[in-house]
Structures are given as structure tokens and as C-alpha cells.
């Protein structure tokens, strides 16, 4: 069980070491190279730890203080699945940053913030009590605010500010809800609260705190109409950060925390979220279709795809949750891949405007090929991973007696395909502009990183095979479905 504590301590320590290095080492080159190495080793180790953790459930009390007095770390199937996803994507993003972040001046600051954000996310996934959950959410959020504004250009600062205000409101809501729960039960441990709620009657105060949680996490997960910060913030960040934000941050801070609190603590009915999911799917994809800025288009797709995940989870059936979680994993992979690709294009061309691209497949075959794979995955074309998760979600919609939802999901899928064909047409196929003839393929580390993700796009479709599914996805589904049974894993 001690292995999980390293997932929090490693990046936290790394962040401080890199920050200290920044102050200690004078030469910029040395500083950059050492921080590259440290950050990559840490994320690699964490990805290794997280990927080998499947099946190791349990809890751990920090400092030996027993529950409910001490800080408690708990991991069940759901957290482990999320940990594996987050840390794998984080590794790809840091690998990518080695080359990509050369454009910016202070690489080591970037890495400290990045690792701090990772600390926050891992902490959210492992935290066993509500206040720590809040603290880790804030750690992740604050570092992400800073990372969004990292370039300190006008747009980036504006996006960062808007993100900060909306994220700040969400955080205040969470804190208020936690306070209300504490005032009702006098404990903060999630397991104890969950037990207390299951025996207590539904008071208005409890309902209010549930509402605050849903509203706050909807902001963090960018469900329409709470989404407005996302299409500003995600494109403004540097590409690897966009990949982290769209790929895993909104899911950890939004969907994971929401599911955990609604399903496992309140054991509440979540069917109210299904219409919101549908609205997100449709409006998100429509807005994406109208964009000509590559990253903004991808960002709107995050809104839309999160709608699918929410739709799947809110059905509340085992199949629906399976589909939702599977789509969550898949979306992390292909969306980070897409953002990394857009970063590679921007790195070489210096623009994100689709109208200024064209024919890039001729000069950047790896970027073009991987983005084609990612586009097909996100559009749900067989045999890539997105196909299977969408299939499961649609199956679940029909099975739970909502063919109407399924129809919307299908419509969203068609529009997703359309907008990605638009991206492919404008950016990667077609005629290469004369001024772009000299462009080279993205640097080595960036290419390796996108190839890893593209392989994962195909490999994760194997998760539907029953044998693999029972190890990876099924424990997560069981954990979500167990409702208040979450309390049992805490000793």
C-alpha cells in the first residue's frame, strides 16, 4: 500500500527540487537539462508505479494516525484506473516537453508547476477525506491557472484570468459544501461520511451540499453551460499542458471527483446529469465545427467528449458506467495526442490557424499519421478505441431504455467525424503551401511521444476483451457501482 504515497511524494519532491535548482544553478543550459532529466525520470517512475498497481486496493494512513483522525489515502479500482491514465499521459507530456518547451524561457519553472499539478491530480485520486480532496484540487487548479498563463501573452493571460475566476468560484463551492458536510456529521473522512449519509435522512442541508458539489464539479469538468472557461484556457496553454488539461485534468478534478462524491458518498441518483451530457455533446461539437483555430476546435471537442463520459456514467447501469469510464481512458489518450500534434504543427509553422496550413502530411508524416489515427479514434471509427467506448455507451443508452439519448450520441458522433475531417482536410491533406516546403518533422522526443500515444489508441481497444477488461476496467466499474460500499476499503 505504501506505493501509492510515492505517487504524491515523488512529484511534490520533484517540484521543489527543480524549483531549488532553478535558484541554485546559474547556467540556463545546465538548468534546463537537469530539470528535463529529473522531471522525466519522475514521471516515468510514476507511470511505472501506476501501471503495475492494477488490483492492489486498500488504504493507508499517513503518519500512522488512524481514521478518522489522520490523513487517509485510499485506492480502489476507480482510482487505480485513473492513476494509470493520468500518469501515463503525464509521462508522454513531459517527454514531449523536452523539445517543445525550448521555445519558452523558464523551463524549470514549467516543470515545477507541471509536477505540482500532477501532485494535485494524484492527490485527488488517492485522497480519502474530503478536505484533502479540496486541498489537492486547489493544488492542481492553481498550478494549472499558472500554466495556462505561462506564455504571458495577452490571450493567455486573459484565458488564465477567466479560468481562475470560474475555477475559484467552483473551489469556493466545494469548500462550502465540505463545510456543510462537516457541520452535519463532524467528520471529514469520505468513508465515515458515506456511512453517516446512508443512515441519516435527507435534510435540505445535505441536498444543498450535493447541489454545491454538482455545480462545482460541473464547472471543473466543463459541462455546458459551465464550460465557458475551457475553450479559452485549453488552447492558451503550452501544448503539453493542454494535453494534460484536456486529457486528464478535467476528468480528475471534474468527473472523478463528481462520480466519487455523488455515487460513493451520497449514493444519489445521477440521472439529472444525462440531459446535461447530451447538451454538452451536441453544443460542444457544433461549436467545434465552427472553429478555424486548431486548438480551440480540439478544446470544444473536449466539452463534447466529456458529455459522452457524463452520459455513460449518469445512466447508472453497469454497462453505462463501463462505457463512460472506458471512454474517459480513451479520450485522455486521443485528446492528448491531438493536442500534442497541434503543438507540433504550431512548433514548426508558428500558427494554429487551419486556413494557413495544408498538405502537412508531405513534410510531417509522423504528426499527420498520428493525428489521423487520433481523429478516427475520437470520431469512433473502427477499429480504434473510441469506436468501442462509443459502442458501449450507445448500447447502454438503448439497454437502459433511452434510445433517444442514443440517437443524440450518434448525431454527435457524426458531427465529430465531420469536424475532424475538416481538420484533416485543412491541415494535413491537400496542397502544401510554397512557404512550408522547408518544414521538417517534429523533433525526436515529440515524435516518440506522439507515436506512443498513437499506439495506445489502437492498444486500448483491446480493453474490451473480457480478460483484459476484468483486470483493468471491471474493478473501476464495480467500485463506482458499489455506492456506499466504498467505505469498506478503509481500515
Amino acid at each position: 500500500m505504501e506505493r501509492y504515497i510515492y505517487l504524491i511524494l515523488l512529484p511534490l519532491g520533484g517540484a521543489f527540487i527543480i524549483a531549488a535548482l532553478n535558484a541554485a544553478v546559474k547556467s540556463r543550459d545546465t538548468r534546463d537539462i537537469t530539470s528535463d532529466i529529473i522531471a522525466n525520470l519522475i514521471t516515468l517512475a510514476m507511470a511505472g508505479i501506476a501501471l503495475t498497481s492494477f488490483g492492489i486496493n486498500g488504504s493507508y494512513s499517513v503518519g500512522g494516525w488512524p481514521v478518522p483522525l489522520g490523513i487517509n489515502i485510499a485506492a480502489d479500482g476507480f482510482s487505480i484506473l485513473m492513476l494509470a491514465t493520468v500518469n501515463t499521459i503525464a509521462f508522454c507530456a513531459t517527454l514531449y516537453s523536452i523539445n517543445y518547451m525550448d521555445q519558452y524561457t523558464s523551463k524549470s519553472h514549467y516543470y515545477s508547476l507541471f509536477l505540482l499539478m500532477l501532485t494535485g491530480m494524484n492527490g485527488v485520486l488517492l485522497s480519502g477525506d474530503l478536505f484533502n480532496l479540496f486541498v489537492f484540487i486547489e493544488i492542481a487548479s492553481i498550478s494549472s491557472y499558472a500554466l495556462v498563463g505561462f506564455g504571458t501573452e495577452a490571450e493567455e493571460l486573459e484565458a488564465s484570468f477567466k479560468y481562475m475566476v470560474m475555477g475559484g468560484i467552483a473551489s469556493t463551492f466545494i469548500l462550502l459544501a465540505v463545510a456543510i458536510l462537516y457541520s452535519s456529521f463532524g467528520v471529514l473522512n469520505m468513508a465515515n461520511i458515506s456511512q453517516a449519509i446512508s443512515v441519516s435522512s435527507q435534510t435540505p442541508l445535505l441536498k444543498f451540499s450535493l447541489f454545491l458539489f454538482i455545480a462545482a464539479f460541473s464547472i471543473k469538468a466543463a459541462i455546458i453551460p459551465f464550460h465557458a472557461w475551457l475553450p479559452d484556457a485549453h488552447p492558451a496553454a503550452p501544448a503539453p499542458v493542454s494535453a494534460m488539461l484536456s486529457g486528464v485534468l478535467i476528468k480528475t478534478l471534474g468527473i472523478y471527483a463528481m462520480t466519487r462524491i455523488i455515487m460513493n458518498i451520497f449514493a444519489a441518483d445521477v440521472s439529472i446529469l444525462a440531459p446535461l451530457g447530451i447538451i454538452s455533446i451536441m453544443l460542444g461539437v457544433l461549436l467545434a465545427l465552427g472553429q478555424t483555430d486548431m486548438k480551440r476546435l480540439f478544446a470544444y471537442h473536449s466539452v463534447s467528449q466529456v458529455g459522452y463520459i457524463i452520459l455513460g456514467i449518469s445512466l447508472g447501469t453497469p454497462l453505462g458506467i463501463l462505457g463512460g469510464l472506458f471512454h474517459l481512458v480513451n479520450h485522455s489518450i486521443f485528446k492528448s495526442l491531438l493536442f500534442l500534434n497541434s503543438g507540433a504543427v504550431a512548433y514548426r509553422l508558428g500558427t494554429r490557424e487551419l486556413n494557413e496550413m495544408g498538405g502537412l502530411n508531405k513534410v510531417m508524416p509522423i504528426t499527420g499519421g498520428t493525428s489521423f489515427i487520433a481523429s478516427l479514434s475520437i470520431a469512433g471509427m473502427p477499429p480504434f478505441n473510441g469506436f468501442f467506448s462509443k459502442l458501449i455507451i450507445i448500447l447502454a443508452c438503448v439497454q437502459s431504455g433511452h434510445p433517444g439519448f442514443a440517437l443524440w450520441a450518434v448525431a454527435g458522433s457524426i458531427l465529430t467525424l465531420s469536424s475532424f475531417m475538416k481538420v484533416q482536410k485543412f491541415a494535413f491533406f491537400g496542397k502544401l503551401a510554397e512557404k512550408h516546403k522547408q518544414i521538417k518533422e517534429a523533433p525526436l522526443m515529440m515524435s516518440i511521444s506522439v507515436v506512443i500515444l498513437a499506439v495506445l489508441c489502437i492498444a486500448t481497444s483491446l480493453l474490451v476483451l473480457p480478460k483484459v477488461k476484468n483486470i483493468v476496467l471491471q474493478p473501476a466499474v464495480d467500485a463506482v457501482l458499489s455506492g456506499a460500499g466504498y467505505a469498506k476499503i478503509i481500515r
Binding site: S218, P225, K422, F429
Partner: protein, 585 residues
């Protein structure tokens, strides 16, 4: 060795060709060898092995599957030969996607599980997208193709989900009637085959894509797959008469509208593409009629259409290769230059227009019979007869437009550009051989349809029903006799003919004043209802894709207008959403 082996081989070939360097000397022999040995292996595993498919739960091979399987392998070999002579650039990529297409199409027809079916189905669409992209300048057409095909894949998923819900299994087998599921599956089949509201990718694709791609996939393979799926759909679901009627009406509309669009085309490839759409209508009519004759007719028509339509496309390809253009008004008098192409296109044109004794007539005849005995004839007699009328009328118009095509390309006075053609651009073996094969197939299938197609595929049990309807051997003897007697009478009577030059008031006829083949048909664009309809069609009013796009972008405009960038507005949304959630809780 079973039916999966060719699929595995061609999938492996796709990977190999993807890696191979783009060297013509290396790729062409490799591709030819590969394609032909693949064909031989397919035949061997189809006919000479006891196919133990029952041991594989996810695959099946009944006679329909086998027939389609054979057809796909056959086209694979033919088209590989043609492409090796036609395609000049990016040959390695071309053949990689080519073999991927073959693998996925073969997979579609033998899968007995909806999931595997969908996966292969989707891959074939993606492969087509990649193949169209090989021609620079085709990316808009490729995008449209992919959106329509891929979008219909999503509908397919929904249909499968409903079937799974109803039956509890993904195995392709009888399913209870469900309107939504049937509509979804039908949409997927129509999009692939090119049925009316979802056909709009075919003309664009034909115009822009490399010609062998058009001849291979939209004209042959995708028709085969789409109609194959439709046949299966009508097998597994019991359609109520209303639904049958609706599908038949779609078929009838497809025939008529597409043939009218074909009449006015000035571009040979687009003309053929509209006919490719129009012929789908016949297959739909036949299969939806619910009559055994109609079903056989529809299925047979699919086979025939694949053969003569690709023959026509290949001929056009030869013409384009020789002259460098596919605009009908710039062509003319090519019959002397390209005699083999002319003959094979003539045969194929007769076949597509339904002139006996070619194969097209046989299948159309079966379809007419099928419509007469359709299951809808009792409930909707008038509409059913209208469908029959549409089919008959469409056949006539098809003939008319093919006369236009043949006349404009091969007959008439030759255009000034034709004279300057280098002799080495004329008929090459690799381009001609596939045409001869396909034209021969047209004749053979027309004369011996019962023995080489219907009996092996549908069993001898259906022969009694068919035998009364049409016996091609006798009929063609009589027809040949009639023609011979006519000629004899002509010679014996000694009638005099006189050839006169054009007379325009004493002026000399300049070469640019020649009458091109399309001019005769220009008048149809000026007759009362057609003129207005064509005008609307030019504005793409009837294009479901373009219209949806227009509507969507209007909505998108509104949505984007609301995203003003002002923080206060966004916060208002948050509170509005919060209130809604609060009320709903």
C-alpha cells in the same frame, strides 16, 4: 486453409506495401503477383476445400456470402492489373490501401457477428478515404465521402445496439422488427451503395478520385457491400408492407432522379457516377419487393452492375489516359483509335441499358417480375405499379444517356485535340485486358445466367419460377436472326444511301463549329419542369449533406454569437445552470 486466409494475406500485404519504397519496377510486379495469387487462393479456398466455417463462431459462409466473396476477389485481381497500368504516382501507398480494401471487404461478407461486420465495414470506408486522398485536389471529395460513410457507420452502431437489445446477441440472425434499427441499418447500406438521399459523395468522388479507385470501390465494391448488407437486412427482419413500400419508393426515386442528373452531365465520369447511383435503385426495388424473383433479380443486378459499371469506368479511364480529358464536348471520333475500348464500352452500355441478351436485361427482367409479384402489391397497388413504371422509364433514359456518352466519345467527328495523340498512349495490354474480361463477363452472364449464377447461388429450387420468365439462348438466337435478316434485306433491296457534308449557307465548316455529342441533349435542360429542377439541383438543394451543412452552420453562427468573451455573461450561464440543477435535484 479457409476463407480467413485470403483476408489475413491481404491485410499483411497492405502492411508490406505500406513499407515498400515507391519504386515502380518493384511495386508493379509485386502487386500483380500478389493480387493474382490472392485470387487463386480465394478460389481454391472457396471451391476446392471443405470450408469448416462452422467451427468459427464469428464467421459464416453461405452461398450468398460465397458469391460475393468470389466477386470481390475477382475484382481485386482485375483492378490490380488495371491500376498497375494506370496509376503512376505513390504506387506503394495505392496498393497498400488497395489490399486493405480487399481485406476489409472480404471480412464484411463472411462475418457472422455484427461487431466484426462493423469493424470491417468501417475499415473499408477509411481505406476508400485514403485512396481518394492519393489524388491531390481530391480532399474536399474525400472529406465528403468520409463524412457520409463514417456518419452512416455511427448509425450502423445504433442499429446494432437496438438489435442487440432485442436479441441479446451480436450474431447476425433473425431479429424482431424495429423501425429505428431498420432505418439505421438501411441508412448505412444506402450510404455505402449510394442510394438516393445519401448518394451525393459518389459524383464528387468519381470526378476527383483516381479513376481505378472509382471503378473499384464506389462502382463495384461498395455497391456489392451495401446491397449485400441490404439483402441480409431483408433476410433477418420481417418488414411490414409500409416499410417495404417506403424502401421501394426510395429505390424508384433513386432510379429516376439519378438518371435525369446523368442525362445533363458533360463530364464522362460524373455521368457514369450518376448511373452508378441510378442502378442502385433497381437493386433496392428488387430486394425490397420481398418476392423471391425480385430478391434474386436485385442481387443479380448488383453483380451485373459491378461488372458493367466498372467496365464503363475502365473504358473512360482508357479514354482519359489517351486524350487527357473527360469532358464530353472535347471528345469525339475515338472509335478508330480505341477499337477494343469502344467495343467493350458498347457491350457494357447495352448491358446497363437492359438490352437483351446482355446480363443487365436478365436481372432487370427478374426485378420487373419481382415488382409485379411484390408483397406490397396488395396494400399499395398503385404505388407499386408506379415503381415498376419508374424502373421501366429509367431503363429507357439510361439507354438515351449512354447513346449520348458513346456518341460523344467514340462517334461523330473527331475533335481537333484528338489528332495529336502519340501512338504509345493507345491501348495498353494492362488497360485493355480488364475491359475485355468484364465485357466477356457481361455476355456470359447474360446468356448462361441460370447455370453460372442463379443455380449455384440460390439452388436449383428456384429454377422453376425463373424458367418461365426469360430464356436468353432462344431469344438471342432470334434477335441475331432478326438482325441478320434485316441486313440481308438492306443489301438485297439495293437501297441507296448518300452522305452529305454539313451545309451552313455556303461557309466552310470550321473545326470548332463541329457538333459535339452533348449538344443534342442540351435541350432537356430547357424544357419546363426540368429546367427549374436542374437549376435547384445545381444549387445543391437536393444534396442532403450540403443542406445539413448549411443549417448547421446557421446554428453554429448563433452559438458562437453568444460566446462573447465577456466574463460576466459566462458567470450568468453558470448561475442559470446552477439554478436548473438545483430545481431538478
Amino acid at each position: 486453409m479457409d476463407l480467413l486466409l485470403p483476408i489475413r494475406i491481404s491485410a499483411a500485404l497492405a502492411v508490406i506495401f505500406f513499407i515498400l519504397p515507391d519504386k515502380r519496377k518493384l511495386v508493379v510486379p509485386a502487386a500483380l503477383t500478389a493480387a493474382i495469387s490472392l485470387f487463386i487462393i480465394s478460389i481454391y479456398s472457396l471451391f476446392f476445400r471443405d470450408i469448416a466455417m462452422s467451427s468459427r463462431p464469428y464467421f459464416m459462409a453461405d452461398n450468398i456470402s460465397k458469391a460475393v466473396y468470389f466477386l470481390i476477389s475477382f475484382f481485386g485481381a482485375i483492378m490490380a492489373v488495371y491500376s498497375s497500368g494506370f496509376i503512376t504516382r505513390k504506387l506503394n501507398r495505392y496498393f497498400a490501401y488497395f489490399f486493405l480494401t480487399i481485406a476489409s471487404s472480404l471480412g464484411v461478407v463472411i462475418s457472422a457477428n455484427w461487431l466484426i461486420f462493423t469493424i470491417f465495414w468501417g475499415i473499408s470506408g477509411t481505406a476508400l478515404f485514403l485512396m481518394i486522398q492519393l489524388e491531390s485536389g481530391a480532399n474536399a471529395a474525400a472529406k465528403k465521402t468520409m463524412i457520409i460513410l463514417g456518419g452512416s457507420d455511427s448509425l450502423l452502431i445504433l442499429g446494432i445496439a437496438i438489435i442487440y437489445y432485442a436479441t441479446g446477441t451480436f450474431t447476425i440472425g433473425t431479429a424482431p422488427w424495429s423501425g429505428l434499427a431498420a432505418a439505421c441499418l438501411l441508412a448505412a447500406a444506402l450510404a455505402k451503395a449510394g442510394g438516393m438521399p445519401l448518394h451525393t459523395w459518389i459524383p464528387g468522388c468519381a470526378e476527383k478520385a483516381p479513376l481505378p479507385v472509382t471503378a473499384f470501390i464506389p462502382a463495384a465494391l461498395d455497391k456489392i457491400l451495401g446491397i449485400y448488407m441490404m439483402t441480409r437486412l431483408f433476410q433477418i427482419m420481417r418488414f411490414p408492407p409500409e416499410a417495404r413500400m417506403a424502401v421501394m419508393i426510395i429505390g424508384a426515386i433513386t432510379i429516376i432522379c439519378a438518371v435525369f442528373m446523368a442525362l445533363k452531365q458533360h463530364n464522362a465520369k460524373k455521368l457514369l457516377a450518376y448511373h452508378a447511383v441510378s442502378q442502385v435503385g433497381y437493386m433496392i426495388l428488387g430486394i425490397a419487393s420481398g418476392n423471391l424473383l425480385g430478391l434474386i433479380g436485385g442481387f443479380f443486378h448488383m453483380v451485373n452492375n459491378a461488372i458493367y459499371k466498372s467496365a464503363l469506368f475502365l473504358g473512360t479511364g482508357q479514354v482519359e489516359k489517351t486524350t487527357g480529358t473527360d469532358r464530353l464536348e472535347k471528345l469525339g471520333g475515338l472509335a478508330k483509335l480505341l477499337p477494343i475500348t469502344f467495343t467493350s464500352m458498347l457491350i457494357a452500355s447495352f448491358a446497363i441499358s437492359g438490352i437483351p441478351p446482355f446480363n443487365g436485361f436478365y436481372s432487370k427482367w427478374l426485378i420487373y417480375q419481382g415488382i409485379l409479384g411484390a408483397k406490397t402489391a396488395k396494400d399499395f397497388p398503385l404505388l407499386t405499379m408506379l415503381c415498376l413504371l419508374a424502373a421501366l422509364f429509367g431503363s429507357g433514359l439510361t439507354l438515351a444517356s449512354f447513346m449520348k456518352l458513346l456518341h460523344a466519345i467514340f462517334l461523330g467527328s473527331s475533335s481537333p485535340a484528338i489528332g495529336r495523340i502519340a501512338p504509345d498512349n493507345r491501348e495498353k495490354f494492362s488497360l485493355v485486358f480488364p475491359q475485355i474480361t468484364l465485357a466477356a463477363a457481361c455476355i456470359l452472364l447474360g446468356l448462361f445466367a441460370v447455370n453460372i449464377f442463379i443455380k449455384p447461388v440460390f439452388g436449383s429450387g428456384v429454377l422453376d419460377e425463373i424458367r418461365g420468365s426469360w430464356s436468353p439462348g432462344t431469344a438471342s438466337l432470334l434477335m441475331i436472326a432478326g438482325i441478320v435478316i434485316g441486313l440481308l434485306l438492306y443489301w438485297l433491296s439495293g437501297a441507296k444511301t448518300r452522305r452529305a457534308g454539313s451545309f451552313i449557307g455556303g461557309y466552310k465548316v470550321a473545326p470548332e463549329m463541329r457538333v459535339s455529342g452533348v449538344t443534342f441533349y442540351a435541350s432537356i435542360e430547357n424544357i419546363f419542369p426540368f429546367r427549374q429542377i436542374f437549376k435547384l439541383a445545381d444549387k445543391k438543394i437536393f444534396d442532403l449533406y450540403e443542406m445539413t451543412k448549411l443549417g448547421l452552420f446557421y446554428i453554429i453562427g448563433i452559438l458562437r454569437y453568444f460566446h462573447t468573451g465577456v466574463l460576466s455573461n459566462y458567470l450568468t450561464w453558470i448561475f442559470a445552470g446552477g439554478i436548473i440543477i438545483f430545481l431538478a435535484l
